[in-house]
Amino acid sequence: MNAADTLTTHRLILRRPEPADFEPFCAFMMSDRTRFLGGPKSRRIAFDRLANFAGHWVMRGYGRYIVTDRATGRPLGHAGAFQHDDTIPPEMAWSLWSADDEGRGLAREAAAETLRHYRADLGWPVVCARIHRDNAGSIAIARQLGGTQVPHDEGDTLRFDIALAQRGAA
């Protein structure tokens, strides 16, 4: 079953990527905000990555949502699952593209809504998140979303698994 094209929360609308997302996404990718994701990245890589997001939806039937302000439609970031490697669970992201939008719980609100959808509507058992060990803000969100750290052998990257089925039963 495919994921919903659109999810709505109190403050946000999550939707599939669109061409107009490229410039704000590119600004994020080329900024210091991707320092924990191997960035800053080039414009070329930013284009490929947004194309990856869009193509993933076609390949898998789910993918990264673009998180937009429910009132204005302004794109704020991206959130949702991505899976290029079948040997680990779908991998989550929750990124805000501008520092100005931090501090109001928007990333967590977006990620929590995608997890609710994956659990309640798609019946997924588990997702994971790979996070740089110095990215304290993102690690905090992973824990708030019910993530537990699992052994992972990949340099400075930590892995958190978020069990969805257990949360549903609790």
């Binding site: 990527p17 669109e18 061409p19 490229f22 590119c26 080039s42 414009r43 070329r44 930013a46 284009f47 490929d48 947004l50 194309a51 990856n52 997001f53 869009a54 193509g55 993933h56 939806w57 076609v58 390949m59 898998r60 290029h84 490697d85």
Partner: protein
């Protein structure tokens, strides 16, 4: 552009459709092999998957992209051809790749000719280029069979490639170039006239 609205192009022997998840194994086989050496490969499994997703996503960002070429009779995927313009590409490119086991039947010529016709005729392109590895003689040969000419003054992607400039829509309209292409495709389609002595895309 929503994925299900990617146009379908039909030629005498081929059907060109948007790339689907089910076509991925052939793409992976080619891009993880030496066959892809002129297109940045061979790629790792991660790079290959991401590139295929980007091939699909390119359609949604640009409104055009690379079609998957299928045999019209058997539906077997044969390769890809179409328009390609990632960020920082100097100009919109017409690109092609044929899966190794299906090379030598003129499929790339037939598919790319049809794709170029669509990009020119339906999307209003005024021209196009192809960025080729100077060692990729089969692709240089195909560019020349398509009427493209080396443009030494044009900007290239990264200096390691050469730019071939395609004939304009006017130069392709009922001219010797277009007649020659049609004639060659017709000869491939008719086994009595299949060219001998060289294997070409």
């Amino acid at each position: 552009m929503p994925h299900n609205s990617i146009p379908v192009i039909e030629t005498k022997r081929l059907v060109l459709r948007g790339p689907e998840a089910g076509d991925y194994p052939d793409f992976r086989a080619t891009f993880s092999s030496y066959r892809s050496r002129f297109m940045g490969g061979p790629l790792t499994p991660y790079e290959t998957w991401m590139l295929y997703a980007a091939e699909i996503g390119h359609w949604q960002i640009r409104g055009y992209g690379m079609w998957m070429i299928h045999d019209r009779t058997t539906d077997k995927p044969l390769g890809m051809a179409g328009g390609w313009k990632p960020a920082q590409w100097p100009e919109a490119e017409i690109a092609w790749i044929i899966w190794p086991e299906t090379a030598g039947h003129g499929y790339a010529l037939e598919a790319t000719h049809a794709a170029r016709g669509y990009l020119y005729g339906r999307l209003g392109w005024e021209g196009a280029v192809s960025y080729l590895d100077p060692k990729n003689l089969d692709s240089i040969r195909l560019a020349e069979r398509l009427g493209a000419k080396k443009d030494t003054g044009a900007q290239t992607v990264d200096g390691n490639d050469i730019c071939y400039r395609h004939p304009s829509p006017a130069q392709l309209k009922n001219t010797q170039i277009s007649d020659g292409i049609e004639l060659e495709i017709a000869h491939y389609a008719d086994p009595k006239f299949r060219p001998e002595g060289y294997a070409l895309d």
